[in-house]
């Protein structure tokens, strides 16, 4: 569902400059990625360095994966060089300060050629396109190339990359990516935020708090939650649905933790096997 709305955005972006082969590629990308609902994303912000480190994935080795996430459509910001206008396409190199990558823009519609006319060597642009491998070399097939006019966009793009990949690596650990408000408040206090509110300290705090052993840490989260006065005061305890919703952890994971905690005698069930309380003493 999410993937198809991104699909429309991409169509709008391309403004009709949109080769017949592209829809099927988009469908492939979105259908394979919607199979893993957590992986479906639109344009992934990347740097050329990240692209260079991406590994091939998929049955036909045509897609790429970065840090375990399948990536096809990407967005970059960089400087254009070696622009070469040919009959059927425009090719150029994009240098984003982390590396250079070859790019190609198919001139299939008037929109494409007009957009590329405005792009000159030495200009910063925002490029949206998809990753391809051609004769062993990685390339970008661009469907949108826009000159940057406000240079805060340059700063933003790199911060966007950092943010996206941080979120991605957090979700790889199997822990909720949204801020679980019931986790101890020390998470929220070291607030060394930049002016745009991008929180750096909490993120690193987060990743150090949750180790690779996701299940064990879910145990701790549940125990913390159940020990809150608002929960321990309730005679019937807390329903596992509430635990799942509040902590944004899948129910299956909650139930696994519940059964191991119950075996250790740290919690006990109350009115039925869905309600649990923290065992005191």
């Amino acid at each position: 569902m999410f993937a198809s709305s991104q699909f429309d955005a991409n169509t709008a972006f391309a403004g009709g400059g949109f080769m017949p082969s592209q829809p099927s590629q988009f469908v492939d990308a979105s259908s394979s990625s919607s199979a893993r609902s957590r992986d479906s994303q639109g344009l992934v912000p990347v740097t050329v360095k990240l692209i260079s480190e991406a590994s091939h994935s998929g049955e036909d080795k045509s897609s790429f994966s970065i840090n375990g996430l399948e990536v096809t459509n990407v967005t970059l910001v960089g400087m254009v060089f070696n622009k070469d206008e040919r009959a059927s396409d425009v090719s150029f190199t994009l240098d984003d300060g982390t590396g250079r990558i070859d790019c190609k823009r198919w001139a299939s519609e008037v929109f494409d050629t007009k957009e590329m006319e405005a792009v000159q060597d030495g200009m910063y642009v925002r490029l949206n396109g998809h990753l391809k491998s051609f004769q062993g070399r990685r390339q970008l097939v661009a469907f949108s190339v826009r000159p940057v006019t406000n240079f805060d966009e340059v700063t933003f793009h790199y911060i966007d990359c950092i943010h996206f990949h941080l979120q991605n690596s957090k979700s790889q650990l199997g822990v909720a990516t949204t801020q679980p408000h019931m986790v101890d408040t020390s998470l929220n206090t070291p607030n060394r935020t930049g002016p745009n509110g991008y929180q750096t300290a909490p993120s690193t705090h987060f990743s150090s708090q949750f180790g690779a052993d996701g299940l064990k840490d879910t145990d701790q989260l549940i125990l913390d939650y159940l020990q809150q006065p608002s929960c321990s005061e309730r005679e019937r305890g807390v329903h596992i649905n509430e635990l799942s919703q509040q902590m944004k952890i899948p129910e299956k994971k909650i139930m696994d933790s519940i059964s191991s905690l119950e075996n250790e005698g740290l919690i006990y069930s109350t009115i039925d096997e869905f309600h649990y309380k923290f065992a005191r003493g």
């Binding site: 740097t47 050329v48 360095k49 990240l50 692209i51 260079s52 400087m79 300060g97 982390t98 590396g99 250079r100 990558i101 070859d102 030495g122 910063y124 070399r137 990685r138 390339q139 406000n150 240079f151 805060d152 340059v154 700063t155 933003f156 790199y158 911060i159 990359c161 950092i162 990949h165 941080l166 930049g194 002016p195 745009n196 991008y198 750096t200 690193t204």
Partner: protein, 107 residues
Amino acid sequence: MDTSNPAVFVNGSLLRMYVGRRVRAVIQAIQPDAGGVTGKTTDDHQLVVKGSPPPVRLTNFVEIIGIADSDRSIRAEMWTNFGDTFDTQNYNQLCQLANGEFKHLFI
């Protein structure tokens, strides 16, 4: 695809770590002087930019890409006008992040 010559995001205090290497920095309010121009980095350090600027009017903020000469100067290869308004705090934080725990995304 080529990642052999990246330009590291630096501010005044990070510049000394990359002497002799290719760096990029945003400088404010360039004042021309002998041999180059002087400006202020996003963390309020003075920086000398060696080389000749392009023949266009320089805006208030300019991005310099070049080789770090010393801990206070860069030999410029590219000058890009970044406009008269720019969020220096954001950029400064980015420099710190790009050289800290997220270095692997950049260089």
